[in-house]
């Protein structure tokens, strides 16, 4: 009986667990606080601000995809609308000298996202799955195309700009320098992460997961899956609006690209690559994708192609995303058996690297012949120079691809085998304890 009771009502977590739980948040806050002390250059401050914004955006997206099981292709609409409202609010507040400081402007953006989501969400969330995905895409196109037609509000192709320093000042902060914007973004990021984490712990958050896993049963228990999806949709719109407003504050401009398909695609990539099954997944994905897109564009002309291929590879081979891959190893770490996997990982890494290098060499060579065929064939990609015109390069590329592929198949089959054996052993060990 006691066994049953303890399962129904989980006991209050031990002090050490609670310390660990709050410790994570405090550590996050401290990291955010100290980050600009370590990396203080203007470039890294901008990068951190962009990462923070994209973390909020990706987490808000995951309320839909990861927690409620709704695949949206148009999440940027709420982000963009939040951005536009924030810009208009800054202009209005600055012109009228109203006593609302800049740190509260993201709330206005959030309200804009919430309003739009509440307005159109009821119709959209009637269906889930594929139909919802298509409808979200259609509505996103509608809003994005309208942005180019309604020029007074959206500013046409040029967009609308604002001056964030003209607002009512608190504590003498002008929000001109990037460091102040960084702290503004960091504070909002922390608030939004905590709020969204808290949301997953509420009964509504739990019902969202239930709706994702089995809507029929939810209905049977007495909840309306449509209402649950609608509420999740509204929350996602709210947080996306906050992210959009922060982006608008950061750049001091909002244009129709904020609303467009590229923005919607990027957040989907970020959330999925990070791993939609875990709360921390979209955070990892947002950091990874933002830094990758900022860094890769310096290294190669065709970084977006690599980006797309990487996404396809994640969908094909690691549906749990980066976080999913790491979390898979938890039982092994708990049993202290991770070291058993390392040799086969190292063996598999070599041909995989060869295959990837071969593919990259091939892509860069093709790029030479199609994009700028009359330029010097001595090209440089990822900091490594090579001669795109030489048959040797082609031969190396072909050998790497064919040989790498062949060895990869064998090596990864071995990894799978070792994995099964190690996992069985680890489980046996944990059960024996």
């Amino acid at each position: 009986m006691t066994d049953l009771a303890s399962r129904v009502a989980p006991p209050r977590p031990a002090l050490s667990d609670r310390l660990k739980f709050y410790g994570v948040w405090i550590a996050t806050a401290l990291t955010l606080l100290l980050l600009p002390q370590i990396f203080s250059s203007g470039g890294s401050l901008t990068t951190f601000s962009l990462v923070g914004i994209s973390i909020i955006f990706a987490l808000s997206y995951n309320i839909l995809l990861g927690q409620t099981g709704m695949l949206s292709f148009g999440h940027a609409v709420y982000y963009g609308l939040g951005g536009f409202l924030a810009i208009h609010a800054i202009n209005l507040l600055g012109a009228n000298k109203w006593a609302i400081p800049l740190p509260l402007v993201p709330l206005i953006g959030g309200m804009a996202g919430l309003f739009l989501a509440a307005l159109i969400g009821w119709v959209m969330t009637q269906r889930s799955g594929t139909a919802f995905a298509m409808i979200s895409l259609g509505l996103a196109e509608l809003v994005a195309s309208s942005a180019l037609i309604l020029r007074t509000f959206f500013g046409g192709e040029a967009g609308i700009s604002a001056n964030r320093t003209k607002l009512f000042k608190v504590f003498g902060l002008s929000f001109g320098p990037q460091i102040q914007i960084y702290y503004l973004v960091a504070a909002w990021t922390l608030i939004a992460i905590i709020a969204m984490y808290a949301l997953t712990r509420t009964p509504l958050g739990r019902m969202c997961n239930a709706v994702r896993d089995n809507p029929e049963r939810v209905q049977f228990v007495g909840y309306d899956p449509h209402v649950v999806r609608y509420l999740a949709f509204c929350f996602a719109g709210f947080f996306a609006g906050i992210a959009g407003a922060l982006a608008a504050i950061n750049f001091e401009i909002a244009n129709s690209a904020y609303l467009g398909a590229v923005q919607s695609g990027t957040v989907l990539f970020a959330a999925y690559i990070g791993g939609i099954g875990f709360f921390i997944g979209p955070i990892v994905g947002a950091i990874f994708v933002t830094i990758l897109s900022l860094g890769l564009s310096d290294l190669t002309q065709v970084w977006q192609l690599y980006f797309g291929l990487f996404f396809i590879a994640v969908v094909l081979y690691a549906p749990g995303g980066i976080t999913g891959l790491l979390m898979m190893h938890r039982p092994l770490i708990r049993a202290g058996m991770l070291s058993r996997m390392l040799p086969s990982y190292l063996i598999a890494a070599l041909p995989t690297l060869a295959l990837v290098t071969g593919l990259m060499l091939m892509i860069e060579t093709i790029v030479h012949y199609t994009v700028n065929p009359h330029e010097d064939p001595y090209r440089k990609a990822f900091g490594i120079p090579f001669d795109a015109a030489s048959p040797l390069t082609w031969a190396i590329s072909a050998a790497l691809i064919v040989g790498g592929f062949w060895l990869c198949r064998m090596a990864w089959a071995r990894v799978g085998q070792t994995w099964d054996e190690t996992l069985t052993a680890a489980r046996a060990k944990v059960h024996a304890l």
Binding site: A133, G138, S145, F153, L268, I312, V315
Partner: protein
């Protein structure tokens, strides 16, 4: 006025038939595999670019045959090595896979052929005005496009309704497990259907390429409209897709030729509205909102008939 109606109807039907060429492949694929192929418009784009390249080397007529075959083969390979693999992870993973594929195809095409439109011209044989209505020359190539679309439409209907293949495909639409139990290789049927569906999209690409613009964003322009067609017609309904294609084709072409706006109709009633920020809505002409007409139609359909025009399936 009559001139406008006749020309717009012709163009609308033409555009609608092109949409249907693509939507038919998409619908058949969706009905059988249960996944809406996000990259379907990308195969249309591949068809156009393959057609352009082959017609440059060997002429237009070989291109009309080989470009769809090539695109169809790529489509079949995508099903065999990609979709089949992600199938066990559910529909969302399949949709995401095709989404990533659409993104990658657009990047590859813009790397190989560049971002600016390529010079894809109609064949010399068809480069003359077919007839003249109300002093407007109507190009023969457009009639050819219409003829091909109708031929494929009738051919598809015949194959689906009259042949043994069609019987199996239709049975697999509703009872895939039963078809499997009867000894048909459902996996291979899926692969072939996917290949044929993408080849149909590529046919649309080859014949539309010379008439519309062939460039690397043509898939991104048309893809969303394609999904509007499928949702408006009713998910999985081929006749629904046909009606929705024609409807959208006609609505869009007629809208382009109408120059009216709210201001021109109600202008005398609310002159002060023209001054506020509502002036955009007030002054925008119907021709200007033609590109968003399909999406407005989508919203209306969602509100008044969520299952689509001829749809029966609630998903």
């Amino acid at each position: 006025m009559l001139e406008l109606v006749v020309i717009s109807t012709l163009n609308g039907v033409l555009y609608g038939m092109l949409l249907f060429l693509m939507a038919s492949g998409l619908t058949v694929i969706f009905s059988m595999l249960g996944v809406l192929n996000f990259a379907h418009a990308s195969f249309y784009m591949l068809g156009a670019f393959f057609g352009f390249q082959i017609s440059r080397w060997f002429g237009f007529w070989p291109a009309l045959i080989f470009a769809p075959l090539l695109a169809g083969a790529i489509g079949a390979a995508v099903e065999r090595f990609g979709l089949r693999r992600v199938h066990r992870n559910g529909h969302v993973a399949e949709l995401l896979f095709t989404f990533g594929l659409a993104f990658a195809i657009e990047e590859i095409v813009s790397i190989i052929w560049g971002k600016v439109p390529v010079d894809f011209r109609p064949p010399a044989l068809l480069d003359f005005p077919a007839f003249t209505i109300f002093s407007t020359n109507y190009p023969a190539y457009k009639m050819f496009m219409l003829a091909i679309s109708i031929v494929i439409f009738i051919g598809l209907l015949l194959v689906l309704k009259r042949t043994r293949i069609g019987l199996i495909v239709q049975a697999a639409l509703t009872h895939p497990h039963m078809v499997g139990h009867l000894g048909h290789n459902v996996e291979r049927i899926f692969m072939l259907v996917f290949g044929v569906g993408t080849a149909l999209a590529a046919v649309a690409g080859v014949i539309a390429g010379p008439s519309l613009v062939t460039q690397s964003n043509m898939a991104a322009m048309l893809g969303p409209i394609l999904f509007v067609v499928v949702v408006v017609g009713g998910l999985g309904s081929l006749p629904g897709a046909f009606i929705a294609s024609l409807l959208i084709g006609l609505v869009q072409t007629f809208a382009v030729s109408v120059n009216g706006s709210l201001a021109s109709v109600f202008g005398p009633l609310g002159p002060d509205l023209a001054q506020s920020w509502l002036s955009d809505i007030w002054n925008v002409t119907i021709a200007q909102i033609a590109p968003i007409m399909p999406y407005l139609l989508l919203v209306l359909i969602l509100i008044f008939r969520p299952m689509g025009l001829l749809g029966t399936r609630e998903t």
